[in-house]
């Protein structure tokens, strides 16, 4: 009996070895080459593949977060080339805060696509959306799931995205989140002699940690500011913004009002009279003016830049400042010497609370962009909100606003101000003000009035509030968004 050397075929699937090897090789090649093929397919699928596009961004001059958006755009150019197969380059235009809206509006009013992407201020959403100058983003977000992002809190949506307030219309996406934080000289707080002197003078320990300041009230912080207020040594307790320029004094007075239960208008009826000119708000104005005693001479002209100057030059122990300029506040010389904490609460005991003003800016898209520029603008936004881009933005000193980045365990450690920023970005601790198209006009009246009181041109806080409330309601009434002003308004003046 001879044994067959050919094994009988087993029942079922039988593959010859050669074919098996061929298949395995093909599978391996396909696996290794899949990303490349997919990318090729993606590039082929992109309608702009092979084209060169020139984009322009309008941003805020001298504003670090805005310039970060600009500085990072070459990274998008690399990404777009690799992912979509088109070349993109960027040009940039900029103007200071107070002039940016004017620059944008005069261009958009002529239906120009001079600026394809604009870094707007949050309060301008209404003024840009109402005439149809910027794109409503609801459909774009629905069509691009990458833009349907979970934000850190609802105030992100209310501040940077939504207009009108309470509606579901979205017009912007956050470029930079921002809140007010308290910058303090940690090295002074850590000085045992200072701690001892403070304890002896006030019978309480000198607040030194983030947690200490989280629980601190303005009355308690006043003791700290007074302790370090030494004009004879050219050192002052703190610095706030009182400048008449743009929204500077308003943003810093609102926390005094809101935190103590005051309000500024009724967004549903447009009424301002009887709401802004309240006893609480009048008292808040007096309180803010009283704080001038702990600030350097000329504080009534202080804006963002002036506060950076006095803090970095060691003229003040502390400063209320936007988290967005943390990089400018903490110079290399001050590294490790600054504590950034939540700003104090207003009021006493259980009733004490803090409601500070939101800062930050959204991206908005020019409605007159042609298809190609609109497509690139959307691609740019999709790239901007990729986790690795958001993280890179934070590493460079920016403040992302998406939940994934802010909830990352390492986020707090990236920058000294990140923890305070995140703390203040929580619902109820910060809020924005009007997004109405008449924002600029209402703001101008208010800045004049608040500045008149803070500089001593007027000592009648309620009189100033009457003037502002009447003027603002008249502005809204003129466009049919508020009832006519009551008779008490006739003849009010600063």
């Amino acid at each position: 009996m001879t044994r067959s050397i050919i094994r009988p075929a087993k029942p079922g699937l039988v593959l010859p070895r050669r074919r098996l090897l061929q298949g395995a090789a093909a599978f391996g090649a396909a696996t290794l080459g899949a990303p490349f093929v997919n990318r090729l397919q993606a590039q082929e699928a992109h309608p702009l593949a092979g084209q060169s596009i020139q984009m322009s961004i309008l941003g805020i001059a001298g504003w670090l977060p805005s310039s970060l958006g600009v500085q990072m755009s070459p990274l998008f150019a690399d990404y777009a080339k690799e992912q979509y197969g088109y070349d993109v380059s960027f040009t940039f235009a900029e103007a200071p805060f107070a002039d940016l809206f004017q620059k944008a509006a005069t261009s958009l009013a002529t239906r120009s696509q001079e600026y394809n992407i604009i870094i707007s201020d949050s309060q301008w959403l209404g003024a840009l959306a109402q005439p149809g100058w910027i794109v409503q983003l609801n459909d774009i977000i629905a069509q691009n799931p990458e833009l349907d992002i979970e934000w850190y809190s609802d105030i992100v949506v209310d501040t940077y995205m939504r207009y009108p307030d309470g509606s579901d219309q979205l017009w912007g996406l956050p470029q930079e989140g921002d809140t007010i934080a308290l910058f303090l000289r940690q090295d002074m707080l850590d000085d045992p002699a200072e701690q001892e002197a403070f304890q002896a003078a006030h019978g309480m320990p000198l607040p030194r940690t983030f947690e200490d300041y989280e629980n601190l009230t303005m009355a308690e912080f006043e003791k700290v500011a007074a302790h370090f207020n030494r004009p004879d040594q050219n050192l002052y307790g703190t610095a706030m913004q009182y400048s008449r320029v743009y929204d500077f004094v308003s943003c810093y007075l609102y926390p005094f009002m809101w935190s103590q239960g005051g309000d500024i208008w009724n967004p549903e009826t447009g009424e301002v009279v009887g709401i802004l000119n309240s006893d609480i708000n009048a008292r808040a104005m007096e309180q803010m003016r009283d704080w001038l005693r702990y600030q350097p001479p000329g504080a009534t002209n202080f804006g963002i830049a002036e506060i950076i100057d006095v803090f970095t030059q060691g003229r003040v122990f502390s400063s209320f400042q936007w988290a967005a300029v943390g990089l400018s506040m903490i110079t290399p010389e001050l590294e490790g010497k600054v504590l950034v904490a939540p700003p104090p609460k207003h009021g006493e005991g259980e009733a004490a609370r803090r409601v500070y003003t939101m800062g930050g800016q959204p991206w908005v898209l020019n409605a007159y962009n042609d298809d190609a520029h609109m497509r690139v603008a959307i691609d740019f936004l999709k790239w901007w909100y990729k986790p690795e881009t958001a993280l890179e933005f934070a590493r460079r000193g920016g403040n992302p606003a998406d939940a994934a980045t802010l909830n990352d365990p390492g986020f707090d450690a990236i920058n000294p101000w990140n923890r305070a920023y995140k703390y203040m970005l929580t619902e109820g601790r910060s809020r924005d003000f009007w997004h109405h198209p008449k924002y600029a006009e209402m703001l101008a009246v208010q800045q004049e009035g608040f500045s008149a009181f803070m500089t001593g041109q007027s000592d009648d806080a309620m009189g100033v509030l009457d003037y502002i409330a009447c003027a603002q309601q008249q502005i809204l009434a003129d466009v049919g968004d508020a009832p006519e002003v009551p008779s008490m308004c006739y003849g009010t003046s600063l």
């Binding site: 003024a127 000329g298 009534t300 003229r315 008449k438 500089t455 001593g456 041109q457």
Partner: protein, 309 residues
């Protein structure tokens, strides 16, 4: 002779007169076109817009509101009368100081023609006038700064207290006015030198020979011949000062409160910050009327000599 008389009696050749008129029209046409396109049409547009409610940010077309914008201004909306009063103070005080200083310094320069370095001194003196007001305003803001400004460092060095020149409502207006005077006094020096140049040398020499005291020489000779050039200088400064905007924006933005808010500052704000095109047009028409009134007064004064003659 008769032939000559016949020729003299003939009317001038019509064709020549017509071609001359045609040439005049051709030469004037570019200027007229420029005037119509850049002056008349915008002015009419402005006038039309002033009867409308139109905000650039509303997304709505202009709405005809009749005289509402004018009435609101007349009733003092946005503190119009306060701004106007402040502007008149700024113009009146500023131009007076500039004229007095300008005439005084001009006379000194006129009398120092042999002084070495006179040309250099004059060039340096005229430098503020050629600087852009925005740049001037910006560096004076730094000079006035209470924390880092040079002026306060000097005050401190002299043992004087620090002054917040631009933040204090009592000093801000005068601090801005001082910069305006620093900037524009050289212009009045220039006009004074031009006026002195128009005085006949013989009359000046005769006054010297007669040993007229300086006061009489100034009033009877110099002012008699030079007053019209000086008046022209004052007129130009008044009109220019009435429009002051670019100096104030970088210095105070009209603050503190409304202390340095002149009419041009408010007009700029209404038009290009608030985008209230209708209201700001009415504002501009009011200012135009005020400017026309002021110019008419000056032209009347300038023409007095001819009328008396």
């Amino acid at each position: 002779m008769a032939a000559l008389a016949d020729t003299a009696a003939l009317p001038p050749p019509r064709r020549r007169a017509d071609s001359h008129r045609g040439l005049v029209f051709v030469l004037l046409a570019p200027v007229l076109a420029f005037f119509v396109v850049f002056n008349t049409i915008p002015l009419l547009w402005l006038l039309g817009l002033s009867f409308h409610s139109f905000s650039l940010t509303s997304g709505q077309p202009p709405e005809f509101v009749g005289f509402r914008n004018y009435v609101q201004l007349w009733m003092g909306r946005n503190n119009f009368w306060g701004d106007l009063q402040r502007t008149f103070t700024f113009v009146g005080v500023g131009v007076t100081i500039q004229t007095l200083l300008g005439v005084g310094l001009g006379l000194l320069f006129w009398g120092s023609r042999t002084m070495p370095g006179r040309r250099l001194a004059l060039t340096l003196l005229f430098a503020p006038m050629v600087l852009t007001p925005v740049a001037t305003g910006t560096f004076f803001r730094f000079i006035y700064d209470p924390n880092f400004g040079a002026l306060n460092q000097i005050l401190l060095g002299l043992g004087l207290p620090m002054v917040d020149f631009l933040g204090n409502p009592r000093t801000a207006f005068w601090a801005v006015l001082a910069v305006d005077c620093w900037m524009w006094t050289p212009f009045m020096i220039l006009m004074t030198l031009a006026a002195l140049g128009s005085v006949p040398r013989a009359e000046l020499e005769a006054a010297e020979i007669d040993r007229l005291p300086f006061r009489k020489r100034f009033t009877l000779v110099i002012l008699h011949h030079g007053k019209f050039i000086l008046m022209l200088g004052i007129l130009l400064r008044t009109i220019d000062s009435f429009k002051t905007l670019d100096l104030i924006i970088p210095m105070t933005k009209g603050g503190p409160g409304q202390q340095t808010r002149l009419v041009a500052v408010e007009l700029n704000k209404q038009a290009f910050e608030s985008f209230n095109m209708g209201f700001s047009s009415a504002y501009a028409v009011y200012l135009l009327l005020v400017s026309i009134a002021m110019t008419s007064i000056f032209i009347f004064v300038l023409n007095l000599r001819r009328r008396r003659g």
